[in-house]
Amino acid sequence: MNEAVVFECFSYAYPKTEPVLNEIEFVVPRGSFTVITGPSGAGKSTICRAMAGIVPNYYGGRSAGRVLVDGEDTAGQRIADLTRFVGLVLDDYESQLVSLTVEEEILFGLYNRGLAPAEALPAMRKALNEVGLTGKEKLRLDELSGGQRQRLAIASVLAYKPDVLVLDEAASALDPEGAESLYRMLDELRRDYNLTVIVVEHELAYVLPYATQMLAVVDGRVAACGALDEAFSALWTKPELRALVPDLWQIKFTMEAYLNRKLGEWRTAAEAAAALQTVLTKGETEEYDQRRTG
């Protein structure tokens, strides 16, 4: 089984509302780093919830098609069972914390899953270590900064070792430094444990170095999907969605159109600068001018 999550023509409407997802079709391979992006209200959060079985199992509502998690249809499965495979960190990182102190927050989920203290305590320490909160076990939640609360929410999910980690706008309250280190950490976890990482993010510059594939959702439909080149190209062809393409790739597509040739998959500004530097050298330009005049 090489697919962690598969959406098979999945449509969904919350009770008494219009459909929020329409025929979503997409695959998350194991060990991938998937980025979901799109305007607010487009259905990104609902997609995340569908992966944890909250939609449709918790909310009810109408659905069509299937969501397969670890090869099995989520419909009718217990959410507590599904979360052993898919760990979901909700977008409201403050309100999803339920305990009074850091260690209780993590132990809460572990005890609920039937772990004995002898297993739960090492799992807790390991999870705190992974998110860089070691030594803060006894702190009260209101003594933590926003970024630390965010990391705690992630640790409480990591502690029961899911195969897939889904984060809904995890970086929205972080400063650039915090966001960068969060995504670096997620990528390390992905490499170390073959974890499948799925994140919802608006600021694509943060995830550009790590993403293996992208899904853009607009009005509950898939607007672009696939490897970065494929997905960004699809967005670039639609003028009203161009703004969703990160700056680096806006430069790439504009220059590609001018030069009439491909410029590679840019992940960082340094890569882009290096590629453009070679283009800027005389030889290339002459060759290009000849091609244009000739």
Partner: protein, 275 residues
């Protein structure tokens, strides 16, 4: 417009959130206030709105000290838009929401109507005047909060991280409103933000806070030009400035991707024709 003179602020004993901050803000500026979380940028903005009283030093708005004043006294001159739009919606319709401020200030009903109309026009919400504010999209709520602040006709607008959690399209919608206000109405904008590409694209002046002090004060292009310890301040260099810095050393960074491409294409043309 606003003078901050050697201001200190302490939340708890011996913990200085602001340390000897001095600034002068001129009318018509577009300022980005940046720095890592906890660096003092929000505290500084709150001191300028009289939401906090400095422990030492003073703040002058239009030459008048804010000492002993309340935010409601300052509200006619300085507007403040908070981070979470949901926590600042106080009325049942969009129009009533915008009218709340001037009505609280005792402005005549006719004038309130005029101001509501104007504020909704400026923020592109005129068609939603009768809508229930909570049914708006996140981006629209943000613009509503801006409209509500505008109804008091402030000459300075302070905005605390209002682009967070928004996609590029919504972000552009709210920032272009601010840009128009700044250019056409001369409203001074102080934007607290974590988004470095916004700083480069929109701000005329960047103020970096680090550990309660001003670490940098100058043009965004100069901030991202490469000689400043951005990582030490918890900042990152926007992609456009990083690419421009590598390819066009010594030149001021263009504001956005399109402008950078234009410069690069110009340069290629010149290189090609010169040789």
């Amino acid at each position: 417009m606003i003078n901050v003179e050697q201001v200190d602020f302490c939340y708890k004993r011996n913990q200085k959130a602001l340390n000897q901050v001095s600034l002068t803000i001129a009318p018509g500026e577009f300022i980005a206030l940046v720095g890592r979380n906890g660096s003092g940028k929000t505290t500084l903005s709150r001191v300028m709105m009289a939401l906090l009283q400095p422990t030492a030093g003073r703040v002058l708005v239009d030459g008048e000290s804010l000492k002993g004043k309340k935010p409601s006294d300052v509200a006619g001159t300085v507007g403040y838009v908070f981070q979470n739009p949901d926590l600042q919606i106080l009325a049942e319709t969009v129009a009533e929401e915008v009218a709340y401020g001037p009505a609280a200030k005792g402005v005549a009903p006719e004038e309130v109507k005029r101001r509501v109309h104007r504020a909704l026009e400026l923020t592109g919400l005129a068609e939603l005047a009768d809508a229930y504010p909570r049914t708006l999209s996140y981006g629209q709520k943000r613009r509503l909060a801006v409209a509500a602040a505008l109804a008091l006709k402030p000459r300075v607008l302070i905005l605390d991280e209002i682009t967070g959690g928004q996609d590029a399209i919504e972000k552009e919608a709210v920032l272009s409103v601010l840009k128009r206000l700044n250019e056409e109405q001369g409203v001074t904008i102080i934007l607290i933000t974590h988004d470095m590409s916004t700083v480069l694209r929109y701000a005329g002046r960047a103020i970096v806070m680090a550990q309660g002090s001003v670490a940098f004060d100058g043009a965004p292009q100069a901030l991202f030009a490469g000689s400043h310890p951005l990582a030490e301040w918890g900042l990152s260099c926007p992609a456009v400035a990083a690419v421009a810095g590598a390819l066009l050393p010594g030149e001021a960074a263009p504001a956005d991707a399109a402008a950078l491409c234009q410069v690069l294409i110009e340069k290629m043309r010149r290189n090609g024709s010169c040789n």
